[in-house]
Subunit: 358 residues, 2 copies
DNA sequence: GGACGCTCTTGAAACCTTTCATCCCAGGAG
DNA sequence: CTCCTGGGATGAAAGGTTTCAAGAGCGTCC
């Protein structure tokens, strides 16, 4: 008798796992509307092939059941995602959010959505996001990379996830890239300062692993060389990141130098640094531009509204994003897509921070 | 004979659709490693239960095949996503990116990733993102809503997607919210201006569908009432968005008024407006703060670095984001979670833009 | 009146992973 | 020598959608 009892028990214990709260699927909708699974799917994906009457029934059923299409299942079966991601260096930098705006514009025109991710200049986070996005099988990835030699980045395209590099020009032939000529930008900035008669010029930027920082510095050096000046005229102040706070720190260091060794002008790798530098220097009693002329980079909206309107190197931000997204869309839809390397030209915008100096 | 031929044809033509390029799945890995599907899955999800030797074999196979786990399939079966989303009003506003930073901090601590979405103050985009995220079955949604009465928003929690409203306090009991007392903030700003002796004060903000804009205005009105002033003293300049460009537009309008009717002070619904207003007024010849005192809102990093350092109402931005994310995590992990309504207190930061006026 | 064409609908198969009840096997206890 | 135990490995089933070959219903044409 004990044995019999034991066998009688496992009656209906075959429940495997508590599912999410009452999720109605296509099956439930089909049943409620009195049609087949396939028809519900057609209403969802090809509404034009189903008769108006049937469609109405199905739509009513969906509404009353609160049906929400399960994207995981859709994507698993259909194999394609309707999402595109932009991994940016720093969401706090208006330059990148402007680029993102351009990306969204182009994506929306193509009916895709954009997920923004921010690596915060941290290699591990960048890597983690790349893995995540690849696993999500997104349509494609736009990225302003920290580590441009990342093997992870290089492998993505061959495994089926198109990548477009934004604001960097990689020599790698495995993806498109859209960039602005940063070397030229650096040259523009320094040539401008040299023309104004400055002799000791600081280059404020870092860390030196970031491509943009390196290129702009190289441009600065080239301008000096072209002008026949010694390299020693360029005083490098390396920062830990491209932020306002780091700019303030650089300002502190710079203002602390004895007047006869202090540079009379500073070229910053981006506007955030320039704004921080400006703020700190002013508060420590240096006059801008009389004691220190400042040139920024990016020409973000706040550059013009700064304490002293900032001379800056302008980049076509939104255009950069839009172009990148368009290249990505082409790559994932056009079978004979060819990788391109688009380079825009920066432009110097002169404002008070360097006006009438010396 | 023709009949026999016809039957013989469909030999191996059953290919349905060209799949994505050579995607190696668990099955292929299992075969390559000489183990079963289940074992591969265990290596992925419970590495401790598989013997070191087997694990090594499987990991080698994964590496050599370039295996990338298919997140759609994982999520479909496992039922849970490791992603959390923050839908912000405007990625170009540093206030929101600072909030986002707080969100990421908390999410990372919990091992989750964050997708950022921006509604750009557009109701349709907000709706589209909410739909998308719900279909993606994300762990939860953090949102600074445009339309707080959106039925879409209200329905989400009951269907299984937890929602936390950020920077708004909804009366709705279906989700947590984290906010800063905007009415108080408005009061602080206006009281400050009244104390300085200003009589004609402008309120610059809009559109009037945005909760923050309304609350801050209500606070302004309340301060007037408390001071026994007529409401007519508050001149409302409505803007189309909370951006620098709109701020400039408001400046244009304001500077165009005859001097005897022009306000002597302006309170802006956020710092972007204030910066635009400041910039335009200065360029049109008004002195700040002598001719026009300005108070902003948010105390973003750029407020202090502005042409005239901006008096502003400070909010605990990162804390806001972190708290919101923590509430969300609690909601989705703690079975007896109770909805909360956290309210922080804003703080007035006085700077030159209102200093020593009148 | 039979064949054909057309529009709409159907339902089984496939997508890739995770889960869990079983099974296998070696070693220890009786 | 058998029985048990427990660490590991197994593989069928399940999860919700899309796809597509095939079927149903109905009007038209010769």
């Amino acid at each position: 008798m004990s044995v019999d009892d034991a066998e009688a028990v496992p009656e209906r214990t075959r429940r495997r796992r508590a599912p999410k709260p009452h999720a109605a699927g296509v099956k439930a909708v089909a049943a409620a509307a009195g049609v087949s699974l396939g028809t519900v799917s057609n209403v969802l994906n090809r509404p034009e092939v189903v008769s108006p009457l049937t469609r109405a029934k199905v739509e009513a059923a969906m509404a009353s059941l609160g049906f929400v299409r399960n994207e995981s299942a859709r994507q698993l079966r259909a194999g394609s995602s309707r999402i595109l991601a932009y991994v940016m260096l720093d969401a706090g930098n208006p330059f990148f959010t402007d680029v993102a705006k351009g990306v969204e514009e182009a994506a929306q025109a193509a009916g895709l959505s954009v997920f923004l991710c921010t690596s915060s200049e941290d290699v591990d986070r960048e890597a983690a996001y790349l893995d995540l996005l690849e696993q999500q099988r997104v349509q494609g990835i736009l990225i302003t990379p920290i580590d441009q030699n990342s093997s992870r980045l290089r492998k993505l395209p061959s495994r089926g996830t198109p990548v477009v590099v934004v604001d960097r020009a990689l020599d790698d032939a495995s993806h498109c890239s859209v960039a602005v000529n940063d070397v030229l930008g650096g040259e523009l900035a320094i040539s401008h300062l040299l023309e104004l008669g400055h002799e000791r010029i600081a280059y404020v930027g870092g860390p030196n692993t970031i491509g943009q920082v390196i290129d702009r510095r190289d441009g600065a050096r080239r301008a000096l060389r072209t002008a026949g000046r010694p390299m020693a005229d360029l005083i490098e102040l390396t920062t830990g990141a491209l932020t306002v706070a780091e700019g303030r720190g650089a300002g502190q260091r710079l203002a602390g130098l004895p007047a006869d060794r202090r540079p009379t002008a500073a070229f910053c790798a981006n506007d955030l640094l320039a704004l921080g530098l400006l703020q700190q220097c002013v508060s420590l009693g240096l006059r801008v531009p009389e004691d220190l002329a400042i040139v920024g980079y990016d020409d973000i909206e706040f550059a013009e509204a700064a304490a002293v309107p900032l001379t800056s190197v302008r980049q076509p931000r939104q255009l950069l994003g839009r172009t990148a997204a368009e290249l990505l869309l082409d790559e994932s839809s056009n079978p004979d897509h060819e990788h391109q390397r688009v380079t825009f030209t920066p432009e110097l915008v002169v404002r008070t921070s360097t006006r009438g100096t010396l």
